[in-house]
Every structure is written in C-alpha cells, then in structure tokens.
C-alpha cells in the first residue's frame, strides 16, 4: 500500500468519526451516560422522603431479595418482589410464545401473497406497529373491560349471564401485551420467510416429505434467525413493559416496570428503584448477547 493510499484511508476514518460524533455526543448525554447515574444511585442510601443521602450502602441491592422486619430486626424474603419478577418473566415468555404461534402463520401468509397484495398486507401490519402503544392498550381496554364490547357481545348472544371480570388480572395484561407486540414478531419473521427459497418445498415434496415434516425439518431451521429476532423484539419490551400493565393491570398486578416506578414515587426508595432498573437491564443484556451469539453462529453456517 502506498503512503498516499494509507493517508487516504486514515482521512476517511477520521471523517467517519467526525460525522458521527454529534450523534454520539447527544446519545451519551441523554441515553447511555445517564445509566451510570443509576449505577451510582443503587449504591447510595435512600432518603426518608425519597431521593438519596450521599453515603455508600448496599441496601438498595439487598432489598431486592430481602426486607428487614422492623419488629424482629431480622431479614425475610421479599415475597412481593419475587412474585412481581416471576409474573414479569412468565407473562413475557407467554407473550413471546403466543405471538410466535399466531405470528408465524401470519408472516407466512403475507410472504406468500403475490407482490402487489403483499405490499397491502404488510401495510396492514405496519399501521398497528406504528400506532401509539397507549392507544392500542386503551383499545384492548375498550374490548375486555367489564362493560366492554366483548362482554356486551357475549351477553347479547346469551353465552354468558354475568360479565367476565378480565380487566385488572394477569390475563388482561397477557392479552394486552400479545396484542401490542404481535407486529414486532410478524415483521422479522416476514423478512426471514421472504428470503426463503420456495423451491426447497418443491424438492421436499418430490422426496415425499409430509407437510409437518417440511415445516419442522426444512422451514423452521432456515427461518430460525427470524424467529430469534422476533422473540427478542417481543421478549425485551414485554419484560420492561410499563404502560400495558399499568392500564390493564390497574396498579395491582404489577410488573417490573411498575415496581421500578413505585420506588421513585410512593415507595420513596430510590436506591432500590435504581438496583431494580439495573437488574432489568442485566436480564435484557443477557438476552441480547444470546441473540448476537446465535445470529453470528447462523452466519458462519450459512
């Protein structure tokens, strides 16, 4: 390589950095940097009226799992926190599973339409995707609440005599999350199926494979990156959900996001809130790293 070429490459890299710098600065100030503040706050002592006192303490972290009994001065398991963690993980996994079971046929359906119709169906998926999450959650509320359309319809048809009390239950949160996150599953699945070579199906049929066999042994392994991408895209926001459980869980059926908010509001325990936030971030990071590993592994094979 000539010195001139080398200089040019250096120049190009410098320009690349300079052009990206303003965006990096803003993101450091208002997105990544502030995460360090949470780390700091999680190791401080909580103030009696919220906020923090500037002295070191691990109370924020330990109180995720244990609470101090003020009468006996002994530590007991924080059952409420564990129940909320368990609910969050359980509902997020259920949401991921149901959106896959419904989303896979939907993505397959879109991908196998003729090109013009495909654009139309894709557009129909995109509209709910971009519609305000709060509005979609409220739309579900309109359907499932006690005097909502679902109960009205079922009572009109004589199927039930008393309205179903779905709202403010785990089931309500589950229905809501499945509804709001379904497009997040369909879009990456569609992208993967779209690249799928349909001639492989012809070949499989020629070799007398059954439909079930083809689905399991040919289609699913090939679109696996799309399945993983969709699952991550649904699981991550489900786990950190705040709006949906707040509107459909009515403040009683909390998820991690609501528990975090509580610590900065009425709970007045900022260090605990900070520690909970980092715990959530940690779980999400593990999920994302798993995704990167699997996605890179796929690239090497393919």
């Amino acid at each position: 390589m000539s010195p001139a070429e080398e200089a040019q490459i250096k120049q190009s890299a410098r320009n690349g950095w300079l052009l990206s710098l303003p965006a990096i600065v803003v993101l450091t100030i208002a997105a990544s940097g502030p995460l360090l503040i949470i780390l700091l706050y999680s190791f401080l002592e909580g103030g009696t009226h919220g906020n923090v006192v500037w002295s070191f303490s691990t109370e924020g972290w330990s109180s995720i799992l244990w609470t101090k009994d003020i009468f006996t001065d002994s530590y007991v398991w924080a059952d409420a926190h564990l129940a909320i963690f368990w609910r969050s993980v359980k509902l997020s996994l259920m949401t991921t599973l149901i959106t896959f079971v419904v989303g896979f046929p939907t993505a397959w359906f879109i991908a196998t339409r003729p090109p013009k119709a495909r654009a139309f169906w894709l557009f129909l998926i995109t509209i709910p995707f971009w519609t305000n999450l709060l509005i979609r959650t409220y739309a579900i509320n309109e359907v499932i609440r006690v005097e909502g359309v679902l109960n009205l319809a079922l009572m009109q048809l004589g199927i039930i005599a008393e309205p179903l009390r779905l709202i403010y239950t785990d089931t309500a949160i589950f229905i809501g999350m499945a509804y709001v996150y379904l497009p997040l599953m369909v879009l990456p699945l569609f992208a993967a199926i779209d690249r799928f070579d349909m001639r492989l199906l012809e070949a499989s049929y020629d070799l007398y494979a059954s439909r079930w066999h083809i689905l399991r042994k040919v289609i699913l392994p090939i679109v696996k990156p799309g399945i993983i991408a969709g699952s991550i895209l649904v699981f991550v926001p489900s786990l950190g959900a705040y709006v949906t459980p707040r509107v459909l869980g009515g403040g009683k059926q909390m998820m991690i996001g609501n528990l975090i908010e509580l610590q900065f509001g009425q709970g007045k325990n900022w260090p605990l809130g900070a520690a909970l936030s980092l715990t959530l971030l940690l779980i999400v990071t593990v999920a994302l790293l798993y995704y990167v590993r699997v996605a890179n592994g796929e690239k090497k094979h393919g």
Binding site: I9, A13, N15, G16, L18, L19, S20, A23, V26, L27, T28, A30, A31, S32, P34, L35, I37, I38, T106, W108, F109, I110, P114, W121, F123, L124, T126, I127, W130, T131, N132, L133, L134, I135, R136, Y138, A139, E142, E147, G148, Y179, L182, M198, L201, E202, Y205, P237, G240, Y242, V243, I256, G257, I260, F264, A274, S277, L278, L280, L281, V284
Partner: protein, 267 residues
C-alpha cells in the same frame, strides 16, 4: 413457475390463522374509533352518531396545551435527530470500515436495546439534578431526551438510501471538477432526500407517541398528549379519550402512508 410455488407454499390452516390475526389487530382499534362517535358516555348505550366528544376535546384547554406541546417537542426532536442521523449515516456508510465503527453502531442503536423504563428513570435522576442546580426548567430537557431516542429511527431509512446509492454519480461529478461541497449539495443530497424525509417522519411519529420517557422527564405542567391521556385513564374513561386517540391515529396513518409512498419510489 411462480404459480406452482404458491401452491407448494400453502400450509393448511395458516391463512385462517393469519386472517383471524388481522381481525384481532383491527377490531379493538375500530371499536375505539366507532365509540368516539357515540353521543352516550357508556359503551352499552349507543345514542346516536355525534361529534360531541371531538368538540369537547377541542374546547378542553388542557388537551390544546398538551397537543401544542407534543407538536413542538416532536418537531424539534425530529429535525435535530434527523440532522444528527444524516451526518452519522454519511459517516458510517460508503467508506472502508474503520476502527470504532461497531462502537458507533452500538451507540446509535442503544435506545432500541435498553428498556425505556430504565432510560426514563436515569434521565429523571440526571435532569432532576441539573434542574435543582441550575434552576432551569422548560421543554429543553424533553426535546433533548426525545432527540436521543429518535436518532436510531431517523438513521435507519437514511442509511438504507445511502447504501443503495450509485457511487459513480459522485465520481462523475468530481471528474467534472465539482468541489466536494458542490458534489454533496448538487448530487448526494438530492438523491438522499427521500431517505431524509422518511427519517424525519419516522422520528416525528416516534416522538409524538412516546409515553414512558416523557412521563418521567416532564416537570409539572408539561404534559404531552400521551401523558395527558395516561393521566386521564387513571380517573374515568369517557369517549373524549377515544376522540383524542382517533385524532392521533389519523396523524399516524397519514404520515405512514406518505412514508410508504416515498420509500416505494426507490424500486
């Protein structure tokens, strides 16, 4: 050949599930829209078609203020984030991969990976400290926060446009003795424009829709339309919320349709 592949691609029951999924996606939204025109307050009671709740929302000063605030924040955040994203996209495409490029990608996409509630709490603490120290309140904090999380959304279509661009055009311009700046203004930017406008619209919609970060960052009396609605849902539900939702829904659909038409031109 194409026809036979559609036959092969048929899997039993898939179309039924898909059509039911579309139905499930649209029934709640349509319910919300239909009941925004109900003259009665409760759902079990259909009075007659009326614009009453739209009028009530229109006359509601809190709704007007929140709408104006939402539009101001979304406009600033969209313009700032698109400007930053355009520069970053120019910096990270069409050149030899350089040291630190992965770091730039991770930074730009970071808002998509960190749960919103975590960023919201972090910003609440940071901006709270700054507010106490400087005594400066105002919409600046919200605009800054929105700008940051809009960057990856603005970046996406611009980068896609740049990657699909014909490099020979710029070489041709340079061969004709155009200065680098003239080449950028007269060649690169016009070709890039649909991507920039698409980015601008996505950023605008994303900012307009934000609930969680705004809810935590805002000072008292700084409600945007979504946080105002969230507050109302805690109290009682009237079709006024349906009317406001339908309004927001219309804005989203119009912008999205424009976005689709704009990005389709490419092929």
């Amino acid at each position: 050949m194409a026809k036979s592949s559609f036959q092969v691609a048929r899997l039993p029951g898939f179309s039924t599930v898909a059509l039911l999924a579309f139905l499930a996606l649209y029934v709640p939204i349509l319910t919300l829209v239909v009941y925004s025109f109900n003259s009665e307050t409760t759902m079990g009671n259909w009075g007659e078609f009326s614009w009453k709740w739209y009028e009530r929302a229109w006359d509601n000063q809190a709704v007007k203020d929140a709408t104006l605030r939402s539009l101001i924040i979304a406009s600033f955040a969209a313009v700032f984030s698109t400007a930053l994203a355009t520069m970053a996209a120019l910096g990270t495409t069409r050149r030899r991969s350089f040291k630190g490029q992965t770091f730039i990608y991770v930074m730009i996409n970071q808002p998509l990976m960190v749960p919103e509630i975590v960023t919201a709490v972090a910003l609440m603490i940071l901006f709270g400290l700054i507010k106490t120290i400087t005594g400066v309140h105002g919409l600046g904090y919200l605009i800054l926060a929105h700008t940051a999380f809009c960057i990856p959304f603005a970046y996406l279509p611009i980068r896609a446009r740049l990657e699909g661009m014909d490099l020979t055009l710029e070489t041709a311009a340079a061969d004709l003795y155009a200065s680098p700046w003239a080449t950028f203004r007269r060649v690169t930017l016009p070709i890039l424009m649909p991507g920039v406008i698409a980015g601008l619209m996505l950023a605008f919609v994303v900012s307009l829709d934000d609930v969680v970060i705004t809810e935590f960052v805002k000072s008292a009396g700084q409600d945007t339309l979504p946080t105002y609605m969230l507050g109302q849902m805690r109290r009682q539900l009237t079709p006024e919320i349906n009317a406001i939702s339908t309004g927001l829904l219309v804005i989203t659909v119009v912008l999205l349709t424009a976005f689709f038409l704009l990005t389709r031109k490419k092929d």
